[in-house]
Amino acid sequence: MALNQSEALKLIYACLGEINSERTADSHLKEAPDTGLLGSSGELDSLELVNLVVRLEALLADRLDRAVVLVDERAFDGGHQPFRTVATLASYLVEKARLAA
């Protein structure tokens, strides 16, 4: 089952909403494609990253009706950096969904 960029963004925003619910109002992550996640502009701490991955995998499993593992050799690769921003992560999800289909 395919996943497009817009659908992938919605999944990520749902997860950011969960993460924001545990942050103070003045430190909420913006639900926008250019929001930094990891790297120099990254805003997630290590436990929030774990939460994001876990929640995204659960949402993807529901959406695709199969198990998906987001973390592989490419996930934190310096060149690809799929977790750099919300937009790069959305593209990564689209690709993962395509491979899982």
Partner: protein, 236 residues
């Protein structure tokens, strides 16, 4: 009847051997629902027991197992790592196949199971992980190198993981078993048995009931302040 684990879902990895079966039956008696996991089918028949055939060294098999359990609403909140591949070769005689088999089950397999289990436990903010280890980590013996190395790695995993969960009631502990009656002990000569027993603080081999008792202690909800511990059973 002691129902200390009522309502819990316990994944017993390595449910196929005598100790695994004893653990399953014991935990069923304590009110838990049990998911057994082993490479071959099991003989346990109980309404609270289900079984998954899975080679834990196979990433996709482990991922699929947890996915299926989730779909069946049997997501484990407790994991007992009892699966182990043993080896008795001296290092100079080790084959690559032997190294890969032991490390594959005892380290890679355990890590994969914990990775998938922790994802679920993190969301629920609750979990108990209990790894079964060996006296050979603390007391070296000829021919135990690769096995003891893998178990030492497993114990290190147990010590590190408490630092990777936060604001949650997830604990990680291990039990070092001396010599299991009916297990390794059955393969020893009388002289070896006598020598081994003499080296223990408690002058008898470990029974499955001894292991079950320790596992229950770590699994109980009241044990939330006990984590990263390695319990030595019967020896010091």
């Amino acid at each position: 009847m002691n129902q200390s684990l009522a309502g819990r879902v316990v994944l017993v990895v390595g449910s196929g051997g005598p100790l695994g079966e004893s653990l399953c039956r014991f935990l069923l008696d304590r009110g838990a629902k049990i998911v057994g996991c082993s490479r071959s089918k099991t003989t346990i028949e109980h309404p609270g027991f289900s079984h998954q055939v899975c080679d834990i060294a196979d990433e996709q098999a482990v991922v699929n197992m947890f996915y299926l359990l989730e779909r069946a609403q049997e997501t484990p909140d407790t994991v007992i790592l009892n699966a182990a591949s043993s080896a008795t070769s001296m290092v100079a005689l080790l084959s690559v196949a032997e190294i890969e088999r032991v490390v594959g089950t005892n380290l890679k397999g355990a890590s994969l199971v914990l990775r998938e289990a922790l994802k679920r436990m993190t969301l629920k903010r609750f979990g108990r992980v209990i790894a079964l280890s060996s006296i050979r980590v603390s007391i070296p013996a000829r021919g135990s190198a690769i096995y003891a190395m893998s178990k030492a790695g497993l114990e290190q995993l147990i010590r590190v993981l408490p630092f990777e969960v936060e604001d949650s009631d997830i604990t990680f502990n291990a039990v070092e078993i001396s010599v299991l009656e009916g297990g390794m002990a059955a393969k020893l000569s009388e002289a070896e048995r006598a020598s081994l027993v003499a080296s223990l603080a408690i002058k008898r081999f470990c029974s499955p009931a001894d292991v079950c008792n320790a596992v229950e202690f770590f699994a109980r909800p009241e044990s939330s302040y006990v984590t990263g511990q390695i319990l030595k059973l019967g020896f010091v």
